[in-house]
């Protein structure tokens, strides 16, 4: 087993019994469960027009939900992952083990993406399950006679994930440098609050990382380009901040 694989497997052990792991499951379920309540209480509003695919509506609502929730989830989950080490005062132990800092850094990053992958897969699966349940509950909603547009769902998710990469890289760096979880959350919440106040719009918001996910509220794909400007900037930020935090972690960070 390579050092990264070994370090990754220790991350899975460390996440046992943690709020980070529960948050992944609960976070993925929050929006779909909210939709169940919304649809059940107002089901007549959601009866599709003839020829309309009800899955478009439910997934559009679901995506709008995670657009607002996911940045907060990401900030919290990264903070919690590093808080496991901070609370255990573990850096002084980890850094005297025969494993390179880069292996440790990469395994932590990989584990974060693993949790995010679980979150997105669970979220999509649960939204689908909710649709099936609602279809069985009220035939008029027509979920059982139609199918989700999986291609569009995948495209949206890909773009959304790219839009969150900048926040991921920035908070990954902040979370090992600022040991106080509340301070990290404070920075993230302030950023998100600004982005929401600006509604993700305005000249400079394409440079403001917290506004990238918000820009995907009621998202309509650009017929010309696959990625919007802010997606490209998010990717750029991700690469820059990841490289900088990698160098900081491996060369300067002493725990």
């Amino acid at each position: 087993m390579s050092a990264i694989t070994r370090a990754f497997s220790t991350e899975t052990i460390k996440s046992k019994n943690t709020f980070a792991l529960w948050l992944t499951f609960i976070g993925a379920a929050i929006i779909p469960l909210t939709l169940v309540i919304t649809y059940i209480y107002n089901w007549k509003l959601f009866v599709p027009e003839p020829g309309q695919n009800p899955w478009e509506e439910i997934f559009a609502r679901s995506f709008n939900g995670i657009t607002l929730f996911t940045p907060l989830f990401i900030i919290l989950i990264i903070g919690l992952l590093f808080n496991i080490e901070n609370r255990a005062n573990a850096w002084k132990h980890i850094f005297v083990l025969p494993i390179s800092k880069s292996s440790f850094y990469l395994s932590k990053y990989l584990f974060l993406f693993w949790l995010l992958l679980i979150y997105y897969i669970l979220f999509v699966s649960l939204t689908w399950a909710v649709g099936l349940f609602l279809g069985a509950y009220k035939k008029e909603l027509n979920f059982l006679n139609s199918a989700p547009e999986w291609g569009e769902i995948l495209t949206y998710l890909t773009k959304f994930i790219i839009g969150t990469l900048a926040i991921i890289a920035i908070h990954f760096w902040l979370s090992f440098r600022i040991k106080n979880l509340i301070a990290n959350l404070g920075i993230g919440l302030t950023g998100i609050a600004f982005a929401i106040l600006l509604n993700g719009k305005g000249g400079y918001t394409i440079y403001f990382p917290y506004s990238f996910p918000i820009k995907m509220l009621n998202y309509k794909p650009n017929p010309t380009y696959f990625l919007e400007d802010y997606h490209i900037i998010s990717l750029f930020y991700f690469i820059i901040f990841s490289c900088l935090s990698y160098l900081d972690f491996t060369k300067r960070f002493k725990g």
Binding site: K16, W91, H93, K254
Partner: protein
């Protein structure tokens, strides 16, 4: 007890041995800021198979030195070599052979003792069965499936020790491992360390601020004060230092005569407070007493002040 140190100069008694040292530092300096050095010219030399007690009062620089030895801090200047390799370039190879516990053990309290060991085992890439062995050594087998947050302080210290023993290290670096332990826990830890050194030849660097805590097991001592090494040598060398500073304080009916009688055979001094005579054995105490009585002198005050190791340590670190 009167503690009098006659000669306040403690020579650096570097170990005279042909063996390659496992830890060697040369002219090590360190400061958290550029202007203020907290460690000055530290020259440690720790031979294979020894138990080296690293002593000093709180804030003397013990933990900082240990952090430097483990690469957790970067020295302002000087060299650190472990296993004859430079820490700056070969840290991963060096860490294969080291088990360390700095201050309180690093434990994931939401996990069981077994899980904690499993994490370190995986990172060190060693056999699974070693976990049972170290649990047995530190007597935590029965508590291995309990979450660490339910452990007592002593159990946590023992688990920390188990973590450092996982890879059967050649060198154990322990920073105040008995902190917070009850007397029984302290004794058990000392016995365990002694056994590791005796049975497996493990070299141990153990820091403490109390000599009495470790004097029974250490073979060598380094004493640090305000960031400077003020003594380094074997326990026997510290004992010699002890003898140098055993003296009798006395007062007689004729101090001048008593001084001239004793000064022929002993190192003696004479001032307003009386006479001080350095002795090296109990027989000499008796001889001093007889000499004065046979000379017809009345003895008003006769105080034998024999410094033990703890007194010597306290005196060294105070003055």
């Amino acid at each position: 007890m009167i503690i009098v140190v006659r000669h306040a100069t403690f020579n650096f008694q570097l170990l005279q041995n042909n063996q390659m040292p496992i830890i060697e530092t040369q002219n090590l300096h360190f400061g958290f800021t550029k202007n203020e050095l907290v460690l000055k010219d530290i020259n440690l030399k720790i031979e294979k198979g020894t138990i080296y007690g690293f002593l000093g009062p709180n804030g003397a620089g013990k933990t900082t030195t240990i952090r430097l030895l483990l690469g957790l801090l970067i020295p302002s200047s000087g060299n650190i070599q472990l296993f004859d390799k430079s820490l700056a370039t070969d840290s991963l190879k060096i860490f294969q052979n080291i088990g360390a516990m700095i201050e309180t053990p690093s434990l994931y309290e939401h996990l069981t003792g077994f899980d904690n060991l499993q994490i370190t085992r995986k990172l060190k890439n060693i056999s699974n069965k070693r976990i049972d062995q170290v649990l047995e050594i530190v007597k935590l087998t029965d508590a291995s499936k309990t979450r660490v947050k339910a452990y007592s302080l002593g159990m946590k210290q023992r688990l920390g020790l188990a973590l450092s023993l996982l890879s059967e290290p050649e060198l154990l670096i322990l920073d105040e491992p008995t902190n917070g332990l009850d007397p029984q826990g302290m004794i058990e830890t000392r016995e365990l360390l002694f056994k590791l050194n005796k049975d497996f030849g493990t070299t141990i660097l153990i820091s403490s601020h109390l000599l009495s805590e470790i004097e029974k097991i250490v073979t060598h001592l380094g004493i640090i004060k305000k960031g400077k090494m003020i003594f380094q040598g074997t326990i026997a060398e510290l004992h010699n230092l002890q003898l140098e500073h055993s003296l009798i304080q006395l007062e007689t009916s004729n101090n001048e005569k008593a001084y001239s009688l004793l000064n022929n055979n002993y190192k003696a001094s004479y001032n307003n407070e009386g006479i001080q005579v350095i002795f090296e054995s109990r027989e000499q105490v008796s001889h001093i007493c007889k000499t004065l009585i046979y000379a017809g002198l009345d003895i008003y005050h006769f105080n034998v002040a024999s410094n033990n190791l703890e007194d010597i340590f306290l005196t060294i670190t105070k003055n």
